[in-house]
């Protein structure tokens, strides 16, 4: 338990900022070490991610993926479950999206395909989370182990399907045919005219992701189900005492979590690539863990953290493009430092701030 309560703006504003500043400071030293100007690096990173329409578009595109996978991790987290199978659930979710698009794209417009694809993504993602959930609930097999194993099984399944079943005949690449218009979500550029995202593939999935944020918030904090999920996560014994059924909570939570992971595929498959291809998840599922940690498992925090990671992805790409000395591995180091400071070392500055900000209104904290 933390030693005291902090004002909300410190807890949710100042601490993340300080952590971020520390991360950039250390990154700056690394940049300095390889002989580049850290200030210039920061400038390129910010400019690349926010400085022009297309940069913003890419930042938001990546952020969309992170919102889905971050929410997925956060929901499971509230039930005390560590779902690190977002990678595999998103991968298989892609299958749901692709099946919907391949079946419908030639016959109907995108807005008919979309709800089917959303349901397909969520169902497939949830289905992929179901077996680990069931094993945890009924057999006590730890979800950390089983979900990670299911990531590998998902890879094998998808390679098999894409190479043997779904591949476009005569193609070198393990991928399906490209979807027609009816299987493509509109880019944000096509939906509005007041902001130009350039060629960035940011698409309607972003809006779906934001709606998912609101729904997750409502479910977790305002419904009986959410109450049970949080109770179970905070104190499983008390939850059983209160008559909640652990098996049900574990399975339902993991289904929601898996469904959210699966919906990440909407952005990549229906929103951007317009075909199902191997390895399209490319680590977004794992970064979702960091996003959820940094966003304190709260949708608002997750959106902010997702944008931050989107900036790191997009700005990082620009940075390694402009500064060949800063290789893509350096960018990974910087991203790693942000995760380290913002996630793992979350309590680095907390004790000092608690000392500074302990408000007088807090009543007798256990002093016995």
């Amino acid at each position: 338990m933390s030693a005291g309560q902090l004002p909300r703006w410190v807890d949710y504003g100042l601490i993340p900022l300080l952590n971020l500043a520390a991360a950039f400071l250390v990154s700056g030293l690394v940049v300095l070490l390889i002989g580049e100007n850290p200030l210039e690096a920061v400038e390129i990173l910010l400019w690349g991610s926010l400085g022009f329409g297309e940069g913003v578009g890419f930042t938001l595109f990546y952020a969309t993926n992170f919102i889905f996978t971050g929410l997925a991790v956060a929901v499971a987290f509230h039930a005390g479950l560590f779902n690190i199978g977002g990678e595999g659930q998103a991968y298989v979710g892609g299958l749901g999206v692709a099946l919907a698009c391949l079946a419908l794209d030639q016959y109907v417009p995108w807005w008919v395909t979309m709800p089917v694809a959303v349901i397909g993504a969520a169902l497939m993602g949830a289905a992929w989370a179901f077996i680990p959930a069931w094993l945890q609930a009924k057999r006590g097999s730890h979800v950390v182990i089983t979900t990670i194993m299911f990531n590998f099984i998902a890879s094998s399944l998808m390679v098999y399907l894409l190479v043997n079943v779904m591949a476009k005949p005569g193609s070198m690449q393990p991928e399906t045919r490209t979807f027609e218009e009816g299987g493509r979500l509109p880019f944000l550029n096509d939906l509005q005219s007041w902001f130009d995202f350039g060629t960035a593939p940011v698409n309607l999935s972003l809006i779906i992701a934001l709606i998912a944020c609101v729904l997750v918030w409502v479910v977790i904090w305002r419904t009986r189900l959410g109450y049970e999920i949080r109770s179970f996560g905070a104190n499983a014994t008390a939850a059983v005492y209160a008559g909640m059924l652990p098996v049900r909570i574990i399975i339902v939570t993991m289904l929601i979590s898996g469904g959210l992971s699966g919906m990440m595929a909407l952005n990549e498959i229906m929103g951007s690539q317009h075909r199902l291809l191997i390895e399209f998840v490319a680590g977004y599922g794992f970064v979702g863990i960091a996003v959820a940690l940094m966003g304190r498992a709260h949708p608002v925090g997750i959106v902010l953290a997702a944008i931050l990671f989107g900036m790191l992805y997009q700005g990082g790409a620009e940075l390694s493009f402009e500064k060949p000395a800063i290789t893509r591995d350096m960018i990974v180091v910087i991203q790693g430092l942000v995760i380290l400071f913002a996630g793992a070392l979350e309590n680095l500055f907390r004790p000092a701030l608690v000392r500074i900000f302990t408000p007088s209104r807090v009543p007798a904290v256990q002093a016995g």
Binding site: Y62, S155, V159, Y160, M172, Q173, T178, T199, S320
Partner: protein, 335 residues
């Protein structure tokens, strides 16, 4: 959303200076975008890097390089290079095909090249390889070298390009010895399958235990482990992509080279000399896009009959007398 817009505008203002200092129109040096594997993947991309190095040595030109961290970056990188006037812009790997197509449309005057995939645009040169022809030679030599009548194949992932290689290998082996037994195994289903030497060694050992005494690797970094295990067991290995004969002299029967370096070098060179030609180049044995290596390291392993058999096959394939089946065209290997 107004606030977002304002913030973006503010950010743009702040970095307006930055924009001005960024080069808009750079030199006409060539540029290359490696695939996600990275330029030190010990295989495909690294072969491309060899071409880059050779071009750098021979000319004073600088070559801009970019390694993709994920496929979504491809279009951005290609557009950035094209807009700065780099000539040509070369994309490595079939994953970049759709990005090349989009970029080529957007910059119709800029020359692009792509390796391992065909992009049908008037300003794109596409280099594809007949891996099956090189693999056919490998199979032929392996079948002649084996004492046990069993040979092995360790691939990375079960994807078309690896299957094409496997099928060519089987066809070549069967052509020289009807009763040949070909074992095959894939290392995995994730990108790690091409970067897992431990797994490669394990698969090779298992094939050796089943009687294989010549094993070919088609698994990138994983293949290093295959060749190591084969050398440790006193069997023979066959290298791929680049010349791997020197890894274990006397233990590697030969290496089947896929001349990505040559393709990269050619595109750079022709562009520098003003002779760049868009279109499809299919590189097989005849074009020198695939070849097998005979050097001091494997001189003693290649007998005269093997040498002449390989020479005969090369000629026959080049002249079209032997058509090596391409598994990707219809999906099934005739064996």
């Amino acid at each position: 959303m107004v606030t977002l817009r304002e913030r973006v505008l503010a950010a743009m203002a702040v970095f307006a200076l930055g924009i001005c200092t960024l080069p808009t129109r750079g030199s006409a040096d060539p540029a290359i975008v490696y695939s996600v594997g990275g330029k030190f993947d010990g295989s495909f991309n690294e072969s491309a890097l060899q071409g880059v190095k050779r071009f750098r040595q021979e000319t004073s030109a600088d070559v801009r390089e970019f390694e993709l961290e994920r496929d979504a970056q491809s279009l951005q990188a290609l557009r950035n290079f094209a807009s700065r006037g780099h000539v040509p812009v070369v994309a490595i790997g079939f994953n970049q095909a759709s990005a090349v197509e989009a970029a080529a449309r957007e910059f119709p005057d800029a020359p692009f090249a792509i390796i391992d995939m065909v992009v049908d645009q008037p300003n794109v040169a596409s280099y594809v390889f007949k891996e099956q022809e090189g693999a056919y030679l490998a199979g032929l030599l392996a079948a002649m070298a084996t004492q046990t009548g069993t040979i092995g194949f360790v691939g990375g992932m079960d994807i078309p390009i690896v299957r094409r290689f496997l099928c060519g290998y089987k066809l070549g082996a069967a052509a020289s010895r009807k009763d040949i037994n070909v074992l095959s195994a894939m290392a995995g289903d994730t990108p790690a399958a091409f970067a897992d030497p431990v797994r490669g060694a394990e698969l090779a050992r298992s094939q050796i235990a089943q009687g294989a005494d010549v094993i070919i690797q088609a698994a990138g970094g994983t293949g290093i482990g295959v060749l190591q295990a084969v050398a440790d067991a006193g069997a023979l290995g066959i290298g791929t992509d680049s010349n791997q004969n020197g890894l274990h002299p006397g233990q590697i029967l030969t290496s089947i080279r896929k001349r990505v370096d040559q393709a990269v070098y050619d595109s750079f060179k022709s562009s520098a000399e003003g002779t760049f030609k868009p279109g499809i180049r299919v590189l097989g044995l005849a074009e020198g896009g695939m070849d097998w290596v005979l050097d001091d390291n494997n001189d003693e392993l290649i007998t005269e009959p093997m040498k002449s058999a390989a020479g005969f096959a090369t000629e026959a394939i080049a002249s079209g007398k032997i058509q090596v089946h391409d598994v990707v065209s219809d999906g099934a290997c005739p064996l």
